[in-house]
Symmetry: C2
Subunit: 356 residues, 2 copies
């Protein structure tokens, strides 16, 4: 049977209002709506305005829809890097971002941390770095980079674009967007929607960079280049027929979150994370994978479960809870737990009671 509570870090449990919103969408004909209609433009506007409000996005930031965060990795490299990107790699997803730069013919450099570790301080950014790629929350290891650490990179390398992958952390982090140039996420994690949509936020420096590369004759892609996305977004449209239903659902969930209050969501996230880490820290046989407390993700908690992994998983599933497998080589020795806005305090209390 399908467990009632899904702690996998993505796709994760749906936000608790999604099913109702989907019903409304079908009733109102949203899935058949033309993406060139005024009704669609209204939905586009409702969703983008909602995200701006929820995340306190400063004016000048643009918001575009792609099909996934994986696509955004590719579009970031295509549109914002002529040659040199610099990647902070501390897990499988930041590594993949780095690799994509190589596949697209760029000359990326990286600084690597060991599994389960973050970065204390970056000595220096390589000369000529056009873009610093940061995975703020590594879904594979549960390592999160503190915001001050990220802002510090701006001071160290003011001419580099700072691009932040916040796929499995937003809407939790309270970013100061004026110290970043681009942030992106996908909807099937913290926003609790069915997978199939990425959200890419960029400032004017990014648009200028893409225009600049294009003027130099460098290929920045076609329908999803930044100028193409921007050209349609100013009309509240997308270049291609997009995932209209998902854009609608995101807008509705974002409004639900605004009503609930982003500070409440953040406070509850802190509480639930503290509860689980506290349990792991005092446990006789389980432990948190990330030792350094400042690097512990609040939204994806990774537990060392060793040879108890299988028993524990079975036990949780019996109680109606689905944990996430460990990632890659840790598949049999770790479990991952998403702590997203849809996961209630009561669900986390049930989880920790079942771990003790």
């Amino acid at each position: 049977m399908n467990p009632k509570i899904n702690f996998t870090p993505g796709p994760s449990q749906l936000y608790f209002t999604v099913r109702d919103h989907t019903r409304t969408a079908f009733r109102e004909g949203i899935p058949s709506l033309s993406h060139r209609s005024q009704a669609f433009e209204k939905i586009f506007r409702h969703t983008t305005d909602g995200i701006r409000e929820l995340l306190s996005l400063p004016p000048g930031y643009q918001l575009f829809f792609t099909s996934s965060a994986t696509e955004i990795w590719e579009r970031v490299i295509q549109n914002l890097v002529e040659e040199k990107s610099f990647h902070l790699v501390n897990g499988s997803f930041s590594k993949r971002f780095f690799e994509i730069a190589g596949q697209l013919g760029k000359k990326p450099e990286k600084l690597e941390a060991s599994a389960g570790e973050g970065f204390e301080i970056v000595g220096s950014v390589p000369a000529g770095t056009e873009l610093i790629a940061i995975t703020q929350n590594e879904t594979s290891t549960g390592v999160s980079l503190p915001l001050d650490f990220i802002y510090d990179l701006r001071d160290k390398s003011p001419d580099s674009l700072i691009v932040v992958d916040a796929v499995s952390s937003l809407p939790f982090p309270d970013f100061d967007y004026s110290k970043l140039d681009s942030v992106f996420f996908s909807v099937q994690k913290g926003f609790g929607l069915p997978a199939g949509l990425g959200v890419w936020m960029v400032n004017d420096r990014c648009l200028a960079k893409a225009e600049n590369l294009s003027a130099k004759g460098i290929c920045i892609g076609s329908y999803h280049s930044l100028p193409a996305l921007h050209g349609f977004a100013v009309k509240n449209q997308t270049p291609e027929t997009p995932n209209v239903l998902s854009i609608y659902l995101l807008g509705m969930v974002v409004r639900d979150m605004i009503r609930r209050g982003i500070s409440n969501i953040r406070r509850e996230t802190e509480y639930k994370a503290a509860l689980l880490y506290h349990t792991l820290d005092r446990h006789h046989s389980l432990s948190a994978f990330v030792k350094n407390k400042v690097h512990r993700s609040r939204t994806v908690v990774v537990a060392n479960t060793g040879d108890q992994t299988e028993v524990l998983t079975r036990n949780l599933i019996e109680k109606g809870m689905q944990p996430g497998d460990g990632y890659g080589t840790f598949k049999k020795s770790q479990l991952r737990f998403a702590n997203f806005p849809t996961h209630s305090k009561e669900q986390f209390e049930l989880l920790v009671d079942s771990l003790i």
Copy 2:
């Protein structure tokens, strides 16, 4: 109010079983399913096997999921063209395909037909053409290219890859896939699903060409290059977190169509198209945009409606029917009518009764 019958050519009316399948999907937790789980692999397999059966795809053909047909235009050019593609352009969408090749730094050539016209015969294919791009059904003009005309290009230029955009015609055309190298569609037209998924079918020649370009050091993209898509597809997976819900729904609709019988669907499509063209041909003031009967699309019928466009539209909407606007410069003087498998004979009878 939202009309009951949607004749817009895409996104169009949902296939009549989609709402029920969506309900089942939510009940079974499909939208939260991990794309690395066995349950997802089963869905992937169910959908791809279903499409193979419905379309009688020969062995050796591979089937990949993208986010849209627009994405497939880009991936086709990236993966299958070193320099020279040759495009048959007879409307806005075939023109866009051509333009994308230029944006990606290739040297495309084109043969153009006037609006509302197809091609009688292609004299010769330019020397060195690596790929011939054919929009089998032009959604903007309602022009369809006969299958024999397309197969004839294979004889004329056996070394060129033949790539067919069948976005707004499949599952209607009964292609002989052995005479083509790649065919693609998106799900929001003939398959009647919410937008947000493209299906790209390719044979071994395409895979070999992409490998060959890559070996030469030409960039073929990253996560959605043909080798990357293929590497995951053999495991019944996708490189990125895909639109899982849509892949599931497509599989369910395809099974519904198999049960109904593809030959029945094709026969009914012919009947409904004949009904509408017959009405237009005998009408005192309306007419079919496409004059040459062999070029008339069965799945997207375009009517010259002149100065009656607005009145006619209002009249149809009052009767619960939503026609599609004319495309581009024909927005105020034409109407388009999708004739997809979800549109019943009774709906078409009601439509033509309302036009007389």
